[in-house]
């Protein structure tokens, strides 16, 4: 990156800067004349009763002359303001482009950091620098020439005007400028120094916050919250004292500036007044000069500020840029470039010559490794943890660059090969795989997204937007690649037709034994809106399910189907009333009664008073059962209808009246009671509060709710309909179309098995998996278990079919039973290609043709499993 901010500005925006200068120059003439006009108005139109009043060669009547001059003045003000508007917007655009460019370059540098550098930089600091600190730099870029040119020009114009009126007054106006020029920057420099300290301190705060997020478990597990709070408080205190010092100095500067500015009128009225009295200048001139002086202080202040900012920004830029240029920064062309020659990864040699890798302390982690692997190969790396095994796998994957020696493929050095070769030919699966925030499918396809391949059928509006975005990205030196294009390189995955995509993904999931998990996600997921043909098949499955349940009394007991004309004893009262799934947040099942429409339906059907009585009885039972439990008891979460903090409130309500005289309660208290019963499930809670008569009335309310639903609420609920798929319900709910019954032994397992049979019989399994691929993984894959994350990382690499796969303890979190199965499936998948596997369990080494024992950074043994002594355990060589 450019070493100074001026070099940066010159290189990327000199044309725009010239345009800004041009616009600035244009804005001065209107300014000058708008200063000149008031004088003419006062002296000629008002002050001279005899005329003649001539404008542009026209002899005018006095009033017309006045209004013409005023009109002209307005016009000039408009032109001046308009030009300033255009100038400001344009300068803003230039600033934003430069800011975008700067952030992009910094982010690109982060991508080019050598991996070990990430141990030294804190994420919080990087975020702070790229996001917040560049803001000031960008703003300055837009102003870099515009402000001195515009404000300086304005100042000069006004001064010229003043000197034209009277040189003495002109001198009076600038008499104290030398003092300001000398004093203010000195004070400002101290403020800037403090501001810099503040920036560093805020960075430290950012670092502390990100560390807190990363170590939150440790904080709670060690009871160090108080210590952390103290540390953070201390840091905030440091910011406070710096700010305090800044305020004192900053407002002193402001005071001095204002004082000096106010000295102007003092001189004008004293000297100017004396001149007017003695008839040396006209009153109009004095008024114009006083007016001009008022305009003078603004640009002068701006210029002073500019000077101060410039000084500050110059240093800030250098500080930031130096943070983003660590030694060993990867050349930019290796990041996105294409190679001149693509090396072969089959039938060639992968060689390490004198490879040495040092740790942060300069001690060798790998020490002059010499290695020759004939590809395709199947190699196991074993040895103690910390002996250099992991580092060797990272070197072989091109993720680490050796400090000495070279890694060669097909006689080409790794560190000269672009990532378009290494990242496509080689796959690396480590023990802590990272996932992106997105769906399972996004993660599965992540390894195939190297470049945009096909634009997704752009509409006319899209095309305009694309062209605009592309032009703007290029203007800021950003990547013009459209993110919403299709980036997935299916060819690389061996997929030629769209119909083969899903099977290919499922094969990859199968290898990693993740298919069952994704199928389970799919059952819980919603049907995609763009697959209408699936709906028909789901309905068929629903009918088959119905038939299976109806045909077997034992199975029938497991599921209570949704029936528009029957109360479902295994569903909540809320579900029974709504008889559908809420879409969006309009209807909240937890607080259904508080919705005005629901309320009106309940009132029309006379259910309000009845449900309030049910609520009263429920409250009675809850108070009786839970009164003696401490507020944090888990039973509240599991069983209670009333949160512990609300229990006293209901106790009070119960104390006020009996169930027959609820009219003694306030409307709010009755509403509290009304809210309670909606979570009641007849079959589960066995409280006998919702009897058949009440159920019949709920059914009536259900009907009325649906029939009277106002047009505005139609989209807010997806009703259960035996003949239609419910878009808001999950796949499982759609097929089952009912509730799994409470109180039936192993109901969930048996229903799941039955569901599986129906899904298979209707050929829906792949479709369900497809839905499951759309499940969200959460940030960093947090919604998946560690085992699922590791499996997904494996499936991701299987799908993209690299020539060489390098693994370092890739499935420690998997079930012991799954591990050998995944291992065999992987070895089978890669049987014609190369596998280098760093093993924790050395018993597995027998599955590899060649075994390398890595210890203390050296290859201490090399040969077949049998040559190395077979499966017996030698503590020195095979601990791990």
């Amino acid at each position: 990156m450019e070493q100074s901010i001026y070099a940066f500005i010159r290189k990327y925006s000199w044309r725009q800067q010239l345009l800004i200068l041009g616009l600035t120059a244009l804005s001065f003439p209107p300014l000058y004349f708008s200063l000149e006009l008031p004088k003419t108005i006062i002296n000629r139109a008002l002050g001279d009763p005899d005329g003649p009043w001539v404008l542009f060669g026209q002899d005018l009547e006095r009033t017309t002359y006045l209004f013409a001059l005023c009109g002209l003045f307005l016009l000039l003000v408009l032109i001046g303001g308009g030009l300033k508007y255009v100038l400001n917007v344009y300068a803003g655009i230039v600033a934003e482009r430069m800011l975008r460019r700067l952030r992009y370059q910094l982010y690109e540098h982060v991508l080019r950091f050598p991996l070990p550098h990430f141990r030294k930089v804190s994420q919080g600091e990087l975020v702070q620098m790229i996001n917040a600190e560049t803001e000031a730099l960008g703003g300055f870029v837009g102003d870099a020439l515009a402000v001195p040119a515009f404000q300086g020009g304005t100042l000069l114009t006004i001064l010229t005007f003043m000197f034209m009126q009277d040189p003495v007054l002109g001198f009076a106006a600038i008499a104290l400028y030398p003092l300001q020029i000398w004093l203010i920057p000195r004070l400002q420099r101290q403020v800037n120094e403090l501001a810099k300290q503040r920036v560093r301190q805020v960075r430290r705060n950012a670092e502390r916050i990100s560390e807190t997020c990363a170590t939150i478990r440790e904080i709670h597990a060690h009871d160090t919250a108080r210590y952390e709070l103290a540390r953070f408080s201390e840091q905030l205190g440091a910011v406070f004292w710096i700010r305090f010092a800044i305020y004192k100095k900053k407002f002193l500067i402001k005071f001095l500036n204002n004082f000096i500015a106010q000295l102007g009128p003092f001189f004008f009225f004293s000297i100017g007044g004396w001149l007017v009295i003695h008839g040396d200048i006209t009153l109009g001139a004095l008024v114009a000069v006083v007016g001009a002086h008022k305009d003078l202080s603004a640009p002068w202040k701006e210029l002073l500020t500019y000077y101060q900012t410039m000084y500050d920004v110059r240093i800030k830029y250098e500080q930031t840029v130096s943070q983003f240029a660590p030694p060993g920064l990867k050349p930019a062309e290796l990041l996105t470039g294409e190679p001149q020659r693509v090396p072969s990864f089959t039938a060639t040699h992968l060689r390490l010559t004198g490879v040495t890798l040092l740790d942060d302390g300069g001690e060798p982690v790998l020490d002059r490794i010499e290695l020759d692997l004939e590809l395709p190969c199947r190699v196991a790396l074993i040895g103690p943890a910390g002996g250099g095994r992991e580092e060797l796998t990272l070197l072989l994957a091109g993720l680490l660059v050796p400090h000495a020696g070279r890694v060669l493929i097909d006689d080409m050095a790794f560190h000269e090969l672009p990532e378009s070769v290494l990242g496509r030919k080689i796959a690396y699966i480590g023990s802590q795989p990272a996932l992106i925030a997105g769906t399972v499918e996004d993660n599965l396809l992540y390894g195939l997204k190297h470049r945009p391949l096909r634009l997704i059928e752009p509409t006319a509006a899209d095309r305009v937007r694309h062209a605009r975005d592309r032009h703007e990205a290029l203007a800021s030196g950003n990547s013009p690649d459209p993110v919403d294009a299709d980036w997935v390189d299916w060819e690389a995955a061996g997929v030629r037709e769209p119909a083969e995509r899903l099977p290919a993904m499922i094969r990859a999931l199968d290898v990693a034994r993740l298919t069952a998990d994704v199928y389970a996600f799919g059952l819980r997921g919603q049907l995609p809106a763009n697959r209408p043909e699936l709906a028909g098949r789901i309905l068929e499955a629903r009918r088959a399910m119905r038939a299976r349940l109806a045909g077997d009394e034992r199975l029938a007991r497991l599921v209570e189907p949704f029936d528009p004309d029957r109360y479902n004893g295994n569903a909540t009262l809320a579900e029974n009333l709504l008889f559908g799934m809420p879409v969006g947040r309009v209807f909240d099942l937890e607080h259904l009664a508080s919705h005005p429409y629901v309320r009106s339906v309940l009132e029309e059907t006379g259910l309000v008073a009845e449900l309030q009585r049910v609520g009263y009885r429920l409250a009675q039972t809850m108070v009786e059962l839970f009164a003696d439990l401490p507020a944090d008891h888990e039973y509240y979460r599991q069983f209670a209808f009333i949160a512990p903090e609300n229990l006293p409130k209901f106790k009070a309500i119960l104390g006020k009246t009996t169930v027959d005289r609820l009219d003694r309660l306030s409307a709010a208290e009755r509403d509290h009671l009304l809210d309670l019963p909606f979570k009641l499930v007849v079959a589960r809670h066995r409280l006998g509060l919702i009897d058949e008569a009440l159920q019949a009335r709920v059914l009536e309310a259900r009907k009325r709710f649906r029939e009277g639903l106002p047009a505005g609420l139609v989209g807010a609920v997806a009703f259960f309909d035996p003949n239609h798929v419910n878009p808001a319900a999950s796949v499982q709910e759609n097929i089952l179309f009912g509730k799994v019954a409470y109180g039936q032994a192993r109901a969930a397992t048996r229903v799941a098995a039955l569901l599986g049979e129906v899904v298979d019989a209707h050929g829906l399994r792949d479709a369900v998996i497809e839905v499951g691929l759309g499940a969200e993984c959460g940030i960093g894959g947090a919604r998946l278990t560690l085992a699922q994350r590791q499996k997904l990382a494996i499936a991701r690499e299987v799908l993209r079919r690299p020539e060489l796969v390098i693994l370092h303890e890739p499935m420690l979190a998997l079930d012991a039973a799954d591990q050998p199965l995944v291992r065999e499936a992987l070895l089978e998948t890669f049987r014609d290609r190369s596998v280098i596997w760093s093993l924790q369990d050395q018993d597995w080494a027998g599955r590899f043709e060649r075994v390398l024992v890595i210890e203390r950074g050296r290859v201490v043994a090399d040969g077949s499993f049998a040559q190395l002594g077979g499966p017996q355990r030698e503590p020195a060589a095979v601990a791990g």
């Binding site: 009786e624 059962l625 839970f626 069983f639 589960r684 066995r686 409280l687 006998g688 409470y742 192993r746």
Partner: protein
């Protein structure tokens, strides 16, 4: 009210007979009903147990695996409890219990039971009384048996 029926069933069990009704109600409320089809297994001999079952309706067979194969040792009916040892201490199930008819049970989980006891120590004390009484009874019978055994041995020699 069926919750009341559960409470009554619990009170009919000697182990819980002396526990306050309000506590039994909480235990009943936090326990679940489970229905079994004939032939379905409630618990299997040798497996760790995590719940006791109170039979509300139907009958169940208690089977024990011996060297001579599976032997039916008892039949349980209404208001009988099965597996109560499992909620008191960690021992594997001593028998297999199979539903003989369609079976309606109340399942008392170990967690639910322990929650009750830790929250209301009085419940624990009452159960301890009941267990101590049983132990006393068992000890006495053991003494009787030992005496009888001694007599028999004396007679043989």
């Amino acid at each position: 009210m069926s919750l009341q029926r559960d409470v009554d069933a619990l009170r009919a069990i000697p182990l819980f007979a002396k526990v306050e009704p309000a506590r039994l109600k909480l235990l009943a409320f936090t326990s679940e009903h489970l229905d079994y089809e004939p032939g379905e297994v409630l618990c299997r001999q040798g497996e760790p147990g995590d719940a006791a079952f109170i039979i509300l309706e139907g009958t169940a067979d208690v089977l024990v695996d011996t060297s001579r194969g599976r032997v039916k040792v008892a039949t349980l009916g209404k208001n009988d409890i099965v597996g109560e040892i499992a909620i008191l201490c960690d021992v594997p199930r001593t028998a297999t219990v199979v539903a003989a008819t369609r079976l309606h049970t109340l399942r008392i989980s170990k967690d639910g039971f322990f929650n009750l006891v830790t929250q209301f120590p009085q419940v624990g004390i009452e159960i301890m009384h009941e267990l101590a009484a049983r132990l006393h009874h068992t000890t006495q019978r053991l003494t009787d048996v030992s005496l009888k055994l001694g007599e028999l041995e004396a007679r043989e020699t």
